[in-house]
């Protein structure tokens, strides 16, 4: 329930901020103020009625249609307008307004939460978050009844990060559902949620979630500060937040991890990371994010350790291919022909006979064509996508070779590179590789392997200069942390993973009670 508790403190803060537009004791004035604030919007419903049991008092029920859960609301209305006269009468009929309110809240409203509102801004927020407001005549405070609930998507399978083995539960656009999904997985009181709202117009709910005592306090402070600093009219997706809070803007590499898988977030929290939920998107952010994290998938922990270690190595190998594949091909065939076996060189040379472009142009053409195809495939409706891939395969695979525009070996290189880049589990990391690949191709075309080496140098320097919320991006390779190697390229069996990553959790790094920790 901590979430709601926190929500209360939040509203209190706001009270202090805007004392100017306090509500009036007159119901009619209040109603007209609200009408003024919202303009002539037609989905604002204002019902004037009075309590069944206390007809003296006029009552207004205000809500925004569509944002409220009709079932809950019905029961609320029911209970309010029902006959409670007898119970109420027991207490005497000429009660003060306060007592009426007290009775109303404590005895009649059968909902989870009722909040007092006293100023116009708050009225606005409460209405817009889907709550139903009551105003009693002669009472300067309104009451927000929790009736939030609008139609959202059901919990679905993740679209972007699929696994063979593992939970098939993805987050939805609803922040509360998402938070619940984590709560369900980590049933511990140390799981803390802090909510705030970001966006001057959108007032998007944003929640920070962490495990108290495990998460790195410094990073946590950093996250809070950076979230506070955001001042923008609207946040529509966690990507917006990501751009505001990341450490380095000018880097192709993502320093914030995002996922729509609940188990990944739960795992990250257990390692001491901090999750940032944003309402309206299934993608939840996880910080601090390390380079190697983008090459790991949750499935690694569900499969056998040896297999997942091998798969991780395969992924890193694919990273190398996806980054350097075409560059190496260009570099070797135009600068270092002595490196190829003679027979291979002859067959490559035979393929290149009659190709009008230099290798760089050939590779660029193919790569660009492929990128176009890929982009088209993503944007197209699924049914058309099929057609695109067929045309693409024909154009690239067959016709271009037949026409003598590209050589078959180049097609092989480009397609292997493309497939390798699909192996990388994280989409935003794969994009960065797509950019860098072109840079490396240029370098290889002008300086051969020397250019690639120099490029690698600059790349590694850049990577090691990055930090994600105070943690060096290349941890545990640079700075090298021997203890953390067990869960980077390799994954030791579960009994070997007794420590949290030391630079992320920083203190409280032991996962298990040490006495019981040894396997048998």
């Amino acid at each position: 329930m901590s979430f709601f508790k926190k929500n209360n403190t939040f509203t209190k803060e706001q009270q202090n901020r805007s004392n100017a537009d306090l509500l009036s004791r007159e119901l009619t004035i209040n109603i007209s103020t609200i009408k003024e604030v919202f303009g002539q919007t037609s989905d604002l419903i204002i019902r004037n009625t009075h309590l069944h049991f206390y007809e003296k008092v006029n009552l207004a029920i205000i809500y925004i249609e569509g944002l409220v859960d009709t079932a809950v609301q019905e029961s609320v209305l029911n209970s309010m307008l029902m006959d409670h006269e007898r119970t109420f009468a027991e207490k005497g009929n000429d009660q003060s307004a306060e007592q009426v309110v007290d009775f109303l809240i404590n005895r009649i409203l059968t909902v989870s939460q009722v909040v007092e509102v006293s100023d116009v801004t708050e009225v606005k927020t409460q209405l817009l978050s889907g709550n139903t407001l009551f105003f009693l005549d002669g009472h300067s405070k309104g009451f927000a009844v929790h009736t939030k609930g609008w139609k959202g998507r059901n919990i679905d399978e993740p679209e972007s990060q699929t696994v063979v083995r593992g939970p098939r539960e993805a987050f939805t656009e609803n922040i509360e559902t998402s938070i619940t999904q984590i709560r369900k997985r980590i049933k511990d009181s140390s799981l803390i949620v802090e909510s705030t709202q970001v966006g001057r117009i959108t007032h998007t709910d944003v929640a920070i979630m962490y495990l108290k005592g495990i998460a790195n306090e410094k990073a946590l402070k950093e996250v809070r500060e950076r979230l506070d600093k955001i001042d923008v009219d609207g946040i529509l997706e966690s990507g917006n937040i990501e751009e505001f809070i990341q450490d380095t803007t000018y880097s192709p590499f993502p320093t914030v991890f995002s996922t729509e898988r609940a188990d990944v977030i739960a795992g990250g929290l257990l390692e001491g990371r901090i999750a940032i939920f944003v309402d309206g998107t299934p993608f939840v952010l996880l910080v601090p994010a390390l380079f190697i994290q983008f090459y790991q998938v949750s499935e690694d922990y569900y499969q056998r350790a040896d297999i997942s270690s091998l798969l991780r190595m395969l992924r890193l190998f694919c990273f190398i291919i996806a980054l350097f594949g075409p560059a190496l091909y260009i570099g070797i065939t135009t600068y270092h022909m002595e490196m190829l076996p003679t027979s291979l060189l002859i067959s490559l040379a035979a393929q290149r006979e009659g190709i009008p472009f230099p290798a760089l142009i050939e590779a660029l053409m193919m790569e660009v064509a492929f990128e176009i195809l890929r982009e088209a495939g993503v944007r197209m409706p699924r049914t058309v996508g099929q057609a695109v891939s067929i045309v693409g395969a024909l154009v690239i695979g067959e016709a271009a070779i037949m026409a003598g525009i590209v050589s078959p070996s180049m097609v092989i290189v480009v397609s292997i590179t493309a497939i390798a880049s699909f192996v990388i589990p994280s989409y935003n990391m794969a994009i960065s590789l797509r950019i860098l690949r072109f840079i490396f191709m240029m370098l290889a075309a002008s300086f051969g392997l020397l250019g690639i080496t120099v490029g690698i140098f600059a790349l590694v320097l850049h990577l090691s200069s990055l930090k994600s919320f105070g943690v060096p991006y290349m941890t545990p390779f640079g700075p090298f942390v021997l203890k953390d190697q067990k869960d980077t390229i390799f994954r030791l069996p579960q009994w070997g993973l007794l420590n949290r990553p030391s630079l992320i959790a920083q203190h409280n790094t032991t996962r298990v009670d040490n006495k019981k920790s040894q396997k048998h």
Binding site: G448, L449, L461
Partner: protein, 365 residues
């Protein structure tokens, strides 16, 4: 501190190891085999002992004022005027060393791998990356050296493993043919390139987190680096023979061409050139950073980063000025450069040590 970065003692070891290997790993076997013939490896082992003494000297100098870099030491111990001149000379030493290294790698590239490419282009490419590294700051440099280190070990092991079948033990015979003198002659460059040239590491000691582990780190770095060089020299002689080693300008590169493993792994020397790139790059970076930092401390600037661009232009022009052809640089490297190193790496440091200990004693009493 201008750069509030800190490096761990582990990172210091690796930095010093790579600093020690530097360009030596490419050209040293040739130079030493030219003097000591097949006994070059004995020169190497001998130099390991000299090296230990020199590293001990570094440690003692660094320990006097643990928060001071070399330039600050010079300025405080030698007085304002002499100190400034000596500091300028040290900075110039750093810059001309970068120039020479730049030229060396340019010559290597243009003579072995890319003949038609103008040397200026290669050198500009190099200096741009080196400057970029210096701009990134000490912590990034230290972290990236940690990332490269396993690859270096991997490449080196690969080279070693594939060359073992090519070894001909007859090549080291006869041992001690010319007596001790040629061996000592070979030990001069073998001591000065890996161990004396690296006195610039004193610019980095104040940034180390655990001061009491400095000595250990320095010895580990120098010891491993020196050992690698000895192994490399021995390997060159065992595989190529002393005649061929001294005949080749870049014996290390020639060594890599010898790799064959069942027709599958062949002709990989261009890949193995990575070893030399990594070490030479870091040597340049370490010199460059030290020079920038030194200049900043000498002139009391507020930041060192703005110096990167002007310094790189100057070193670039220096590398073009210092020699007309690669042969001249080669002779200077053998005949004069070791003594140039000696002046700074030993004479200067000894003077500093003597003055410093006296001063500290006076302060105590």
């Amino acid at each position: 501190m201008l750069d509030n970065g800190q490096i761990s003692s582990r990172q210091l070891s690796i930095l010093f190891l790579i600093f020690t290997m530097g360009d030596s790993v490419l050209i040293l076997p040739t130079i030493v085999a030219g003097e000591a013939k097949q006994d070059a490896w004995i020169s190497g082992i001998l130099s390991l002992f000299f090296g230990a003494a020199i590293v001990f000297l570094y440690h003692r100098v660094g320990r006097m004022y643990p928060e001071h870099t070399l330039i600050e030491n010079i300025l405080t111990l030698l007085g304002k005027w002499i100190g400034s001149i000596v500091a300028l000379l040290v900075i110039f030493y750093g810059m001309i060393s970068i120039g020479a290294l730049l030229r060396e790698i340019g010559d290597f590239m243009t003579s072995q791998i890319m003949v038609e490419t103008p040397i200026t282009a290669i050198m500009i490419l190099m200096i741009v990356v080196v400057g970029y590294a210096v701009r990134m700051g000490l912590e990034s440099i230290a972290r990236s050296v940690e990332i490269f280190f396993p690859w270096l070990v991997l490449l080196f092991t690969f080279l070693l493993a594939l060359l073992v079948p090519q070894i001909d033990p007859e090549h080291v015979k006869p041992v001690f043919e010319g007596g001790i003198k040629p061996i000592l002659r070979g030990a001069i460059p073998f001591t000065s390139y890996p161990f004396i040239e690296t006195f610039m590491i004193l610019m980095y000691l104040p940034f180390v987190k655990n001061k009491h582990e400095i000595q250990r780190s320095l010895f580990i770095g120098a010891g491993l680096g020196g050992l690698v060089l000895v192994v490399f020299t021995l390997l060159s002689i065992l595989v190529l023979g002393s005649e061929m080693t001294s005949n080749q300008t870049y014996s290390g590169y020639k060594l890599a061409t010898k790799i064959t493993a069942g027709d599958i792994i062949e002709r990989v020397e261009a890949l193995l050139a990575g070893i030399w790139f990594i070490t030479i790059f870091f040597k340049m970076i370490l010199y460059f950073y030290a020079s920038c930092l030194g200049t900043t401390q000498l002139f009391k600037f507020k930041d060192y980063k703005f110096l990167v661009v002007p310094m790189s232009i100057i070193t670039l022009s220096l590398s073009l000025i210092i020699t007309d052809n690669s042969l001249y640089l080669g002779t200077v490297f053998v005949e004069q450069w070791p003594y140039y190193d000696f002046t700074f790496g030993i004479v200067l440091l000894l003077i500093l040590l003597i003055i410093g200990t006296r001063k500290l004693k006076k302060q105590k009493t």
